[in-house]
Structures are given as C-alpha cells and as structure tokens.
C-alpha cells in the first residue's frame, strides 16, 4: 500500500492504495467518481479519458501511485456548479450520445482536442475531429452527431479564455 495524494476536480484527495491500482479504479472505487467508465482492457475504447495536469489521458492505463501530486479533472468536474461546460451542452444540443457510456470519455477528449487546437491555432476541421477521436469508440451514435457536437462546442469555446474549465 502506498499513500497517494492528488487534486481531483479541485479537491485534495489522499488514499492508501495497492501499487497496482489504476487511476480508473482510484477514481471509481476509492473516490466513487463513477462517471469515468471502463469499456475495454487494451486502452482503446477511451471511455475512461480524464485530464491529468491538463492533458487527456486514459485513466485505465495510468497507475494511481505514479500520479502523486497530479491535478486530475474528471467528467464530474468540468461543469462550473450547475452551469454545464459548452462541450456538455453541445452533446445534448446535437444528440451526441445515446446510451451515455462512452460519453464522459468523448466529452473529455473533445475538450482536450479543442483546447489543443485553440492553442496551436490550427483549424479543427471535421477531418481533424474524426482523426482526433481515434482513441474513443462509440457503438451507438455512428459518430455523426458527436462530430457535430464537437464542432459546435469548438466555436463556443473559441470565444472563451483557454482552459477555463480546468
């Protein structure tokens, strides 16, 4: 057992966990933040994507003990109180989700990609969005409306200061 402290959604959290504890298990089982989902065991589906120190990572492929001192944002932490993040709003506006299981990972990936493109000044085209979604699998939507949602959120986030949600 190793003592780990990380800031999750703005709150310091300390737990004693086995060294093999994955970040996804730390979030789901230790902190009971069950919005981070696990849909595969080979790091491909992306249902578990969270932000660690401002970058999207797969929580199922990171050890909690390795993230001592890290800042972690999960799907539960992107809204400002009751006000949803533009990406969350866009997924509702454009019907970018059906069963909802992949949705947290899609939204976290969507926010990360928009922020990165914004920082780089590159245009986030439909082709770029589809390519950026390579690590996120959805079985319900056929991606059409996820792409629409990210396009729309990107426009709205363009107006906002960078990384406002983090």
């Amino acid at each position: 057992m190793t003592k780990v402290t990380m800031t999750v959604n703005g709150k310091a959290q300390t737990r004693d966990v086995p060294d093999t504890t994955l970040l996804s298990d730390f979030l789901r089982e230790e902190l009971r933040l069950t919005g981070t989902h696990v849909g595969c065991d080979t790091s491909q589906c992306g249902a578990c994507v969270v932000h660690v120190d401002g970058r999207a990572v797969k929580a199922c492929t990171a050890l909690a003990v390795a993230l001592d001192g890290a800042e972690v944002t999960t799907i539960e932490g992107v809204a400002q109180g009751k006000e949803l993040h533009p990406m969350q709003v866009a997924f509702n506006d454009h019907h970018g989700l059906q069963c909802g299981f992949c949705t947290p990972g899609m939204i976290m990936t969507g926010i990360d990609m928009v922020e990165r493109y914004k920082a780089s000044g590159l245009p986030l085209t439909e082709e770029a969005i589809r390519h950026e979604l390579e690590g996120n699998i959805c079985r319900c939507t056929g991606y059409h409306n996820i792409v629409r949602a990210i396009e729309d959120a990107a426009q709205k986030m363009q107006a906002a200061p960078a990384a406002a949600a983090e």
């Binding site: 919005g35 595969c40 080979t42 019907h95 989700l97 059906q98 299981f101 390519h131 699998i137 059409h144």
Partner: protein
C-alpha cells in the same frame, strides 16, 4: 412550450450522462459487497475430470469457489431456448443441454466452469486463475459447414451430426419449376460474417440475497428485466417471481446481446445465497468477446431466377446457420422466422423456397444481434439483385423498380403480409439526395486521382414491432410479445409513465414523454418515465426488435386514451358540459366553442380531492393497458453507398452514404436520425471491418480491440438522410420502428459499391483492405480473365 409528436425535443436523460452521473450496474456498490470471477474452459471442447479449488480457497480474501455439480444439486435449472422450431420432416429441434456452470463437458473457450467469490475483484480474478481444472481435450468443430461434414466432432451426444433442425419455408415444387423456366438465373455463395455486438458497457451483475426475507435482488445489464425475472424464476428456479426483483438501471447499449440471461447472472444470484454476501461480477472486454452471444454467422447458397424482362420468377435459398455450442434464448428463431420471412424483400416474387440447417459448433452461442435474421436476408437479396443486374446488364435501380411491390397489403410467399410502403418514393428520394445523376462525373474525377469509385444500392424491408402474440405462439414462441403501460397522473397534473420497454440508449425518457405532452399539453419536463425495475413496473417484454415504438408506445397510447376519457368525465361534470364537446389543448380542457375551461392540473386535482366527481366514478387518475399488435410493422428504406478504393492497398473509403427510410410516423426526428446513424455505422462495420475469428482449434483470435475492428470516427462519413412516411395501419400512432434499419440495410450497399468499384463480385464481408486487394489481384490475373 410543449414538445409533442414530431418535435426535435432534446433528450431529458442527457444531463446525468453528460455530467458523469449515470448509474450503470458496475457503478452500484451495496452493503456486504463481494466480487465474483469465473473459471472458464481454456479449450474449445473438453471433458472435465475434476476441479481442485484448494489452492484458490487458501488465497487471501477468497470466500468460496462453487462448481456446476453443486449448482445442479441445488436445483438450478439449465438454460433454455425460447423458441421451438420444427424440422421439415415434422420432428422437433434437437439442442444440447446448457448448464450455467458445466457439469461434465466444456464446449467452447470461455464456457463457465466455476464461480469464485472473494472480498475484492482482484482477489477473485487471481483466485480464479489458481483453480486447477483437470480436463481432457476433445476434438472440436468451429465452422458452420464443417459441423455437418461426416466425421465432424460431436458437440452434444443428443444432437447427431450437430444438426439442430432443418427448417423449410415456401413452396419447393413451384419454386423449382419456375426456376427451370427462368430465362436468367443468378447464383451466389454468401458468407454472413460472425460479429460480436460490443455494447460499450460490458455486462455486469450485482446479486443481493436477503436471508431474512428469503428475497433476491439482481441489478443487471438487461434489455428486458421482466423477461429476465420470468426466466430466472420459471426455468432456472432461482426464486419465485415475487421473491426476485430485477433492476436494469442505466444500461450502456445492448444491440441484442443484453436480451439474454447468461450463466453469470444465474451463478451470481445463486452464489449470493450460498455465501450470504452480495456478489458482483463485471465482465472484462476480453471476457465479453469470449462469452457475450455473437451474431450472424451464416453460409448460404442462393439462386434467383428472372424472366426475360428482369422480373423475378423464383428464389431459392440454402443456408447453414451456426448457433454455437448451445441454443441461446432467441437463437433458434433468428435464422428461421426472423430470416426466411423476409426472403421476398421489397419485391413481388411469385415462388420462394428455402431451407435452413442450424448447427452446433464449439463456439460461444450465436443469437440475435441488431437486426437479427433480417440483415442476413437483406444482404443476400440485395447482393443477388446487384449481381443479377450486372449479369443482365441492367441498371440496378431499374431492376429493383421492375420488381417492387406497389399494392398493399401484400401477401408474400413467406408468411408475412406487408401492410404499407412506397418503395418508389423512397428510392427516388435516396437517388436525389445521393445525386446519383452526378456519379459518372465523380467516378471520372476519382479515376484521375488513381482511385476506383463505386456506387451500390440496398433497398430493404424488415419486420419490426415484435410481435402479435398469437401468431408468434403458433410459430413456436415461448412467450407473447405484447407490451404494457401504466399512466399515472399526479394530483398536481404531472405524469408518470410506467413501461415494460427498456431504454439503453433509445431515449425513451424523452420520446415517451412527448406522447403525453402531445396529448395533454403537459411539458415533457413534467413527465417521468419509469422503467427497468420489476418492482415498479408490473410486466413487460423489454426492448429489442425495434418494438419500443410500435408496441411499447402503442400500449402508452391505449392507457392515455383511458386517462383522457376519465379526465373528460371529470371535467364535463365540473364544467357542466357534455364529454363529447370537450377538447384538450395547450394544457387545458375546454368546452369547444366557449370560453369555459379547466387547467389540466385542475382536472387532476379534482380527480384526487374527489369532492365533486360524477356519481359512481372512482377517485384518482391512473390507467393501465396492454397492447398486442395485430401484425408486425414493416419499415423500409433505400440506401446508397459510394466508396473509393485505393487499388494499390485495397483500402476502401466510404465517401458518401445516403439513407432514405420509411419509418411511418416519427415521434422525434433527432432521435430517429441518431438511430439510423448508429445502425448504418454498425452495418458499415460488418461490411468493412468486423469479424469474429476462431482458429481451427476453437481458440478465439479476435479477443480484444487489438484484433476485432470496431468502426471509429475516421472510418465513416457524415451521413445524408431523408424520410418518406407511410404510416403503419396496425398501431395507433402509425409507427414502424427505426432501431435496426441501418444495420439491416447498410452492408449490401457497401459491398455493392465496392464490387462496382473493383469490377468483380468475388468478395465476401468484411471487405478488409487485404480482401479487396486479393479480389482485385484475382480479377486482374490472366487466369480469371479466361
């Protein structure tokens, strides 16, 4: 502001999903929680000689290890096939015995042998590895047509030659005679590739036994919790229905794979009683590939005869369907009544005959997967039409039009009577939306870039809205397929709808509320949908086969009729008017042509205060209804796919995909479009990317996303959709169902487009880059040219 029928209402359920507050089974943790893992058969066929759990039991945190013989001794029943199929010689089907935990033989890689219960999931999984199984490996058979060969390994002793049934449909003599006189006959060998459903949420179960009450609760990933409870009670003897509550909370997709009650759920319930602990099991993705029911897996020889004007005169089908090691719940009906009854497609075919031989193999059971039987029928027919058009040098759209059914109702030669449709109209719309006229120009432009561009059609019809109970009963079904609903109006006028349908992505919390909004003018936010809990909803048959709309919503409509009638009685009494003069508009009950009216909430309150009700009328405003459809519903559509093939690598890009569908009445276009997007993507997945592969020994090769290729965002285009509605005459709303259409219609459109591009029809699904490259190489080789 209300959102009635036809409104693009945004989904009410989205807030919890977009904020990470959905409640899926694996998110649930109960008192006294322990965790289960399963010991599984490591080979495709084995005799189990003994199980030594002593090392596992000595490990930290391990509570118990239980095996098949113990489960059997406690009276837990074997798994059932829900549909009895009769062979053409009149004999009943023969299926192998499926015990939740194997007692003597393991029959596929992953067959559950023992359940291990421990304090943590990690401990359970580690202990499962430490259970020693003494087994003797036996010969295995994996592939459908090999299972019927002389000398093939026997999967079950009581199923000689692995043959479950030989089912027939249609008129053989008439079909043979018509075929003999045909001026052109198209023949095709077709493989419908085996798929893994892959709902993104893996299966999960939390079983809670309450010893004081002798009562069980099962939280599980189910599309139909009531059917689960019925089967667990009546056939598996876990507990009588009043002692068993099944809750399917938020469920992360199903696509058929979560209809069935699997060994794991049964074993977890039983183990909860044995150990006195709450037992939780969540499948890993690798475990899902091994144990979730697969789909499709047909091998077919088909023949279609035409007269000299391109009219179909006869259609002959010979299919072998691989059902895997055991006959799962809907497995036996999928390649028969859900398949053969669609052999007429959208076409007026005067003579049809076919047989289906269903076989056992040493693979995981195959059962209904999105579309179930109808994609297999559609793929076959629509490939035949395209190939026939090419052989007869006709335009493939024109050949289809020459054979379209134009008068309804239309009685096919294969049981079904189509109720409505306008196949010309939807094909017109699809051709226009796809700009078929501009295709030659696009093809030339692609050619200049070194790409082969092709266009393919698929015009399909399917049977949804499962199903008229008496009809399916006469065909062997073990249950009726009606649906129930209850409408509860609260004293403040808000409404609860209880439905036996189950939403696992379909958006029922929004669309079912739209029905109430439309009827009473209540905002959808004032309507709550209750589903997925056998303690709350009395009964229901769940969601699959695109039945929630045509059957589930119809039950709601019937209950709403009753509520409306009673509300009008109350309002008429208060307003001193005749019920017949009352209309409900914008949340008010009005006397037509006057300014006399009551708010909807006032009527509701009057029903519950009961101070001034018409004489003899009971207080309250709550009604229930059961709806049993008189016929299936028949969605149809025309799909057009355009692809570009890179001849150097064989890579296919779907550059344009158009779908024009007839779903009858549409409650929420946004949600219907979403269903088509998802269905078409699964269809493109089947056509281009997905296949389950077992090696010769029955080991699963495609056991993870490293080898089983799921469609990603960059594998598919944005879609072009259109609709043309001919409402179904067989349900109050005119609904036809839209959940499966895309998965049914898309695969042949994709393959027809690729074969158009590469100039050869010698191509099976999935059309992987290697397969396309090989087909191209073969077509261009001197041998093929001869």
């Amino acid at each position: 502001m209300t959102d009635g029928i036809g409104a693009r209402a945004k989904r009410k359920e989205d807030r919890r999903f977009t904020t990470g507050k959905g409640k899926y089974t694996d998110d649930i943790r109960v008192e006294n929680q322990a965790y289960a893992a399963f010991v599984r058969c490591p080979v495709a066929h084995a005799r189990i000689n003994g199980i030594d759990a002593s090392a596992a039991l000595a490990m930290e945190g391990v509570i118990a290890v239980h095996t098949g013989p113990e489960l059997k001794a406690d009276g837990i029943g074997d798994l059932i096939a829900g549909w009895a199929i009769t062979s053409k010689d009149g004999s009943p089907m023969k299926t192998g015995v499926w015990s939740p935990l194997v007692t003597e033989y393991g029959r596929y890689v992953g067959d559950a042998i023992a359940i291990v219960v421990a304090e943590t999931q990690a401990q359970a999984r580690a202990a499962a590895e430490a259970v020693e199984v003494d087994f003797e490996e036996l010969p295995a058979v994996v592939v459908a047509d090999k299972a019927l060969e002389e000398g093939a390994a026997q999967v079950h002793e009581n199923v000689p030659g692995n043959l479950i049934y030989t089912w027939e449909l249609g008129d053989e003599a008439r079909t043979d005679a018509a075929m003999a006189n045909a001026s052109h006959v198209t023949e095709l060998d077709i493989v419908n590739n085996r798929l893994s459903p892959n709902a993104m949420e893996p299966r999960s179960a939390v079983a809670v036994y309450d010893e004081a009450e002798d009562h069980y609760t099962l939280y599980t990933t189910s599309q139909n919790p009531h059917v689960a409870r019925l089967v667990l009670s009546a056939f598996y003897n876990v507990a009588p229905e009043h002692k068993l509550r099944v809750i399917a909370p938020d469920v992360g997709g199903g696509f058929g794979s979560k209809i069935y009650i699997y060994p794991e759920e049964i074993a977890c319930l039983w183990a909860s009683m044995k150990t006195g602990r709450s037992v939780k099991w969540t499948s890993e993705r690798g475990e899902a590939f091994l144990t979730d029911a697969h789909g499709r897996d047909h091998v077919t020889k088909a023949k279609m005869g035409f007269d000299n004007e391109g009219r179909i005169v006869a259609f002959h089908v010979d299919t072998i369907a691989n059902l895997g090691a055991y006959a799962s719940l809907f497995a036996t009906v999928t390649p028969t009544y859900l398949y053969g009854t669609l052999w007429s497609g959208q076409y007026d075919i005067p003579a049809i005959y076919g047989t289906v031989r269903a076989v056992h193999t040493n693979t995981v059971p195959v059962d209904a997967y999105r579309g179930a039987g109808r994609p297999e029928a559609t793929y076959m027919i629509e490939r035949m039409m395209e190939v026939a058009a090419r052989e007869m040098r006709m335009d493939p759209a024109e050949l289809r039009r020459r054979n379209f059914i134009r008068e309804f109702p239309y009685q096919t030669q294969v049981i079904l009577a189509y109720d409505s449709g306008d196949f010309d109209a939807i094909l017109d719309k699809a051709q226009k939306a796809a700009d078929v006229a501009g295709f030659p120009e696009r093809r030339a432009e692609a050619e200049a870039r070194g790409k082969l561009r092709g266009l393919g059609y698929s015009t399909f019809i399917e049977a949804c809205g499962l199903a008229p109970s008496a009809a399916v009963g006469s065909l062997g079904a073990g249950v009726g397929l009606w649906e129930s609903a209850e409408v509860r109006v609260n004293p403040v006028g808000t409404v609860e709808i209880l439905t036996g349908a189950h939403s696992h992505g379909q958006g029922h919390e929004t669309t079912f509320a739209q029905l109430v909004s439309d009827r009473f003018g209540v905002p959808i936010d004032n309507v709550q949908i209750v589903h997925g809990d056998t303690d709350k909803v009395q009964f229901g048959m769940g969601t699959y086969g695109s039945r929630s709309g045509p059957v589930g919503m119809s039950a709601v409509m019937k209950a709403l009729d009753k509520v409306e009638a009673k509300a009008k009685k109350i309002a008429a009494h208060t307003l001193e008017a005749s019920e017949d003069d009352l209309v409900i508009e914008n949340g008010e009950v009005k006397v037509a042509g006057t300014d006399r009216k009551m708010g909807w909430h006032e009527v509701a309150l009057a029903a519950y205060t009961a101070h001034n009700l018409p004489e003899g009328l009971e207080p309250g405003l709550k009604e229930g209804a059961f709806f049993d459809p008189v016929n299936f519903s028949f969605p149809s559509g025309a799909l057009i796919c355009e692809v570009e093939v890179d001849p150097e690598t064989g890579v296919t890009e779907v550059v344009q995909f158009t779908a024009a569908d007839d779903f009858g009445t549409i409650i929420n276009p946004m949600i219907v479009e979403g269903q088509v997007h998802g269905g078409v993507t699964q269809g493109i997945g089947q056509a281009l990317l997905e296949r389950v592969v077992y090696d010769e020994d029955g080991q699963l090769v495609t056991g993870s996303y490293m080898d089983y290729c799921m469609p990603r965002a960059d594998d598919v285009p944005s879609y072009v959709l259109d609709h043309h509605s001919t409402p179904s005459p067989n349900n109050p709303l005119g609904l036809k169902g839209c959940g499966e259409a895309g998965a049914i219609g898309a695969p042949p459109a994709v393959i027809n487009a690729i074969t158009d591009a590469i100039g050869t029809d010698d191509l099976q699904m999935p059309a992987t880059p290697m397969a396309v490259w090989q087909a191209l190489a073969w077509a261009r080789s001197p041998v093929a040219a001869e």
